[in-house]
């Protein structure tokens, strides 16, 4: 019945795994002291191949493989491309900024690639156990990457915090999966979607949904499960934060979309108000806290919490009677792409300005940046303007689709709260932007800052981020269409696909 070989369903993941393993093997066989920088290029090439494989998967008929555990569809391809793109930019960024004398460069690149395997698999999994495994693969890599600067105190602290809280969250998710299995007798997402509305033990399903939401909302750093974010972002190296603040979140949001729209659309009346509250909380808490930050990375950490809130606004979109909403899913998917483009971009700039070691972490250190380094200063302004949500940048259309989905769904109050919040957010983004544009009165007394070296890889990373942000802001049509066709396929297949439909009790 399924003519597509199973291996094609997970081709990008296979390519990434092979790349990662190869890098580990080469790393182990290289003598200490030999250059390992080129391993980063190996990783970048592997990621590019995986990206290409994801695009190629579009030519396959949408369907599942490996006994219905992984799926390829426009939805998974959308997220695969996004994640591979982010990972590619993060790799290019690390290539030029990782200190040459670091002995663990090979591991670093391998971990990033393994993380990508987990994230890609997470977006394609339609079987809750595979979901769990994928989430673990991606989480463990990111736990290690977060603590990569072992020599500072902050690195291990960040890693431990992230690991402990993250393990808790995964525990919640696992409980949720167990309860779902208890209520429906299956871990297949399609089956659960079919069985959930008529399950006898309704309260068990509710508990399962709540626990799973806790686990996922932790991963996307939505309030009130956000406390880990600022510490981790501050402690982790900036190129890692560029990855950490976008790719795992994209994967987790894909999972959230799958859980609420594909698995439990019948509980729309329950999770929609819940996510409404979480959205409002996230954006308000994130923005208010960001206003008070003096450290740039902490500020951006809180801002990313706020962005999770804006994104969750899309879940208030109008839905049909089964609880499914194509507009909402498309808006959320688009937002993730726009957010990823600008956030990766701004962390790339911050990596270059403050360096791998975070020599200039505070907002005041950015004073007069545009005079010291005009190109970096202009890029910083550009990405900040996009984060504010000014038209003709990706940030605007992200917010636009998200809030117009909310308004369409009748959540006018949410849209007003959200847009007022984005006014609030403008205050701290603009503070950083304007400070960096100010003439530095004390420039003479300040220790000379080495003009950051912009190598080929970083230049490519920055151009990719700028290009993506501009394309999403000026001609968003193509990406939105991709998001819509992805959204379309997220609907669980109708019961006529399963001949045993009659067996379900009415």
């Amino acid at each position: 019945m399924n003519p597509v070989p199973d291996i094609f369903r997970i081709l990008p993941e296979v390519i990434l795994t092979v790349t990662g393993v190869t890098i580990m093997l080469i790393e182990a066989s290289l003598r200490p002291g030999w250059t390992r920088r080129w391993l980063g290029w190996v990783a970048a090439i592997g990621t590019t191949l995986a990206l290409w494989a994801s695009v190629w998967q579009l030519s396959l008929p949408a369907g599942t493989g490996y006994f219905g555990t992984v799926e390829t569809s426009p939805f998974t391809v959308f997220f695969h491309i996004l994640i591979c793109g982010i990972v590619l930019v993060a790799l290019l960024l690390s290539l030029d900024t990782l200190p040459e004398d670091s002995h663990h460069q090979g591991e670093f690149y391998a971990l990033i690639v393994f993380g990508a395997v987990g994230m890609c698999l997470l977006t394609g999994a339609v079987e809750l156990l595979v979901v769990f495994i994928a989430l673990e693969i991606s989480s463990i890599s990111t736990y290690i990457l977060a603590g990569y600067r072992k020599e500072t105190g902050r690195g291990p602290e960040a890693a431990i915090k992230y690991f402990l809280l993250g393990s808790f969250a995964t525990g919640f998710l696992l409980y949720g999966i167990a309860l779902t299995f208890g209520a429906t007798g299956t871990t297949q997402i399609y089956e659960i979607a079919r069985l959930a509305p008529s399950a006898q033990n309704h309260s068990l399903i509710l508990a399962a949904l709540a626990l799973m939401l806790v686990g996922i909302l932790f991963k996307v750093s939505a309030a009130p499960f956000h406390v880990w974010t600022p510490d981790v972002y501050e402690g982790a190296p900036s190129p890692v934060v560029a990855l950490l603040s976008t790719a795992p979140k994209a994967a987790a949001f894909a999972l959230l979309l799958r859980v609420v729209y594909e698995m439990f659309p019948s509980l729309h009346g329950l999770w929609a108000p819940l996510l409404w509250v979480v959205a409002v909380l996230s954006m308000t808490v994130g923005n208010l806290a960001a206003l008070r930050q003096q450290n740039v990375k902490r500020m951006l950490a809180y801002s990313s919490i706020a962005h999770a809130g804006y994104l969750l606004a899309a879940f208030s979109a109008a839905s049909d009677k089964t609880g499914f909403s194509e507009a909402g899913i498309a808006a959320a998917s688009f937002y993730i792409a726009a957010y990823a483009a600008m956030n990766v971009g701004i962390f790339a700039v911050i990596t270059l300005v403050s360096g791998y070691d975070d020599k200039l972490p505070m907002i005041d250190d950015f004073r007069g940046l545009i005079y010291r380094a005009p190109l970096l200063g202009s890029l910083l302004l550009f990405f900040l303007v996009s984060l504010v949500g000014i038209p003709f940048t990706g940030g605007f259309f992200g917010k636009f689709y998200s809030f117009s989905a909310a308004v369409d769904g009748g959540a006018v109050a949410l849209a007003i709260i959200g847009l007022l919040n984005s006014g609030l957010a403008a205050a701290y983004y603009l503070h950083l932007a304007l400070v960096s544009a100010q003439r530095d009165p004390s420039a003479a007394g300040r220790p000379a800052v080495a003009t950051p070296q912009v190598g080929v890889a970083v230049a490519a990373a920055l151009s990719l981020a700028v290009l993506a942000t501009l394309i999403l802001g000026i001609v968003p049509g193509e990406v939105l269409r991709a998001a819509q066709s992805g959204a379309h396929t997220l609907q669980a297949p109708p019961p006529e696909n399963t001949p045993s439909g009659d067996a379900v009790q009415p």
Partner: protein, 509 residues
């Protein structure tokens, strides 16, 4: 010619942007960025002159229209066009751009590439606002216009640029949040962002009146902050005293006033009429309050800020008087105010470059040392206070007479009082700067009158003030073609032909 007519507005919007890209590419040497900016703005100005040359007064609807789909879902169109309301405003923006470049010529010496690139992006945004007929496109340009302004204020601020820039940005950005929600809500209910379509749908649709009232209020609020209308003028004085001269001359007034006429009154006539008495009261307060504060300022930028508040409030009074003559006068006065303000700012900027202060007390007796500057400043001041034969007189006469006859005598008397105060602070300013005994500051520097470049800009502006005072019908004819005389009840911005079409229009559910 048709091909030009169908692409002229796109060219007007995009040429400054292309200039901005070019500025970023050339090296910052031999004043290259300045020259590119000057040539770009002159070219744009010539392009805008094409519009009045080929505009056909009396034709209903919009001219030079372009309507392409931009984004499919939601349906956003690249829909631009001009009518009598926006025609001369586009030309005004075109005219002020080279003036701004000249004003910055010797004032901006650092990071010229960034300055001129952002200045040109600002031009694109302002042209975009005046020609957009799609609400999302309009909103895009509206927001875009904030960014270069805020960054340039931060970069070239006199004392604390970033603070003033942030204040300016937040004051205008936060009110645009409700504006966007209102636009999205309208779209959710009607399925259109198109101005022309919406005019019909909102007038004859059965949208809930209460919600429509809130939407109208959101529009009004965003515009009122931008104008600014008293008591929302908190950003004005700081922005004027920090902004580079070239930007201070365009920051207030035009965008907000035009948007009020086009989008508030144009889309929500009934709601605007209901709000009119309150706005007229605020406008009269603004006229008097601004004039009184202008009298006591020690810094000439702050004086100009409050003078602007006073003058712009007079235009708001005319807009919400809902009279045929008042609306014509309002547009005319926007044009006139733009020209006069540009001349005054250019001269004050020239003074500041030479004497490095904006404190009025420090000046005195400059007329003997800078005779050309003094003459031109006096002409511009007289135009501003409304001396007959100069542009200001026509605008103020149209506004005050229409308000007196058709709206309210009390408001007119109060507003006229503000005009008298206006004469007081302007003439006093002239007296303190140019006449009286020579101050220490004036004698401490070598006398240096305005140079050729400045004169080349100021002389045409002075001539323009005179022509605007003598032959106003050249402008008012095309303005009036978009303001339609009342058939029986009240005037409207909607051409008569729409009323027939609109009977068949239905609101999409």
């Amino acid at each position: 010619m048709d091909a030009i007519n169908q692409s002229i507005l796109t060219a007007v919007v995009l040429v400054p942007l292309a200039g901005a890209v070019l500025v970023t590419l050339v090296p910052d040497r031999f004043k290259l960025p300045n020259w590119i900016a000057l040539l770009t703005t002159l070219l744009t100005f010539l392009l805008t002159l094409h519009l009045p040359a080929h505009f056909i007064p009396g034709l209903p609807g919009f001219q030079f229209e372009i309507n392409y789909p931009w984004i499919e879902s939601p349906a956003i169109f690249y829909h631009v066009g001009v009518d009598g309301l926006s025609l001369w405003l586009v030309v005004l923006v075109g005219l002020l751009a080279p003036v701004g470049v000249i004003a910055s010529w010797s004032a901006i010496n650092e990071r010229r590439k960034v300055f001129y690139a952002l200045f040109l992006v600002q031009q694109t945004a302002m042209f975009g606002v005046f020609v957009s007929l799609d609400l999302m496109l309009y909103y895009g340009f509206w927001e875009l216009s904030l960014v270069p302004m805020a960054i340039l204020i931060a970069m070239y601020g006199r004392k604390d640029g970033p603070k003033a820039a942030l204040k300016f940005f937040l004051f205008t950005f936060i009110p645009s949040a409700p504006l966007l929600v209102a636009i999205l809500w309208i779209y959710a209910r009607t399925g259109s962002f198109d101005f022309v379509t919406l005019q019909i749908l909102l007038a004859h649709g059965n949208l809930p009146a209460a919600a429509l009232g809130w939407a109208a209020l959101a529009f009004l609020f965003a515009f009122a902050v931008k104008v600014p209308v008293f008591p929302l003028h908190g950003w004005l004085a700081d922005t004027f005293s920090e902004a580079p001269v070239a930007l201070a001359m365009v920051v207030a007034g035009k965008l907000g006033l035009y948007s009020m006429l086009r989008f508030h009154i144009g889309l929500f006539p009934a709601q605007a009429r209901a709000a009119a008495p309150y706005l007229m009261a605020l406008a009269v307060i603004g006229i008097l309050y601004g004039a009184c504060l202008a009298l006591v300022q020690r810094d000439f930028w702050r004086l100009m800020a409050f003078a602007a508040l006073s003058h712009l409030s007079l235009i708001v009074l005319a807009i919400y008087g809902f009279t045929f003559t008042g609306w014509t006068g309002a547009i005319y006065q926007i044009l006139n105010h733009g020209v006069v303000d540009a001349a005054l700012f250019l001269l004050l900027g020239a003074l500041e470059v030479r004497y490095a202060t904006s404190q009025i007390d420090a000046y005195g007796g400059l007329a003997a040392r800078m005779p050309r500057a003094a003459t031109l400043f006096v002409i511009a001041s007289l135009a501003m206070i409304g001396l007959p034969m100069l542009g200001g007189f026509v605008g103020e006469l149209l506004i005050l007479s229409s308000t007196f006859i058709e709206v309210s005598r009390a408001w007119t008397v109060a507003a006229a009082l503000g005009v008298i105060l206006g004469a007081a602070y302007m003439l006093w300013l002239v007296q303190r700067i140019f006449y009286g005994p020579e101050s220490k500051l004036a004698t401490s520097r070598p006398a240096e009158d305005i140079h050729f470049g400045e004169l080349a800009v100021l002389a045409p502006l002075a001539v323009l003030m005179l022509v605007m005072g003598l032959a106003p019908s050249f402008w008012t004819n095309s303005i009036q073609s978009s303001v339609h005389p009342p058939p029986s009840s009240g005037i409207t911005l909607m051409p008569p032909s729409f009323r027939q079409i609109s009977i068949h229009a239905e609101v999409r559910r």
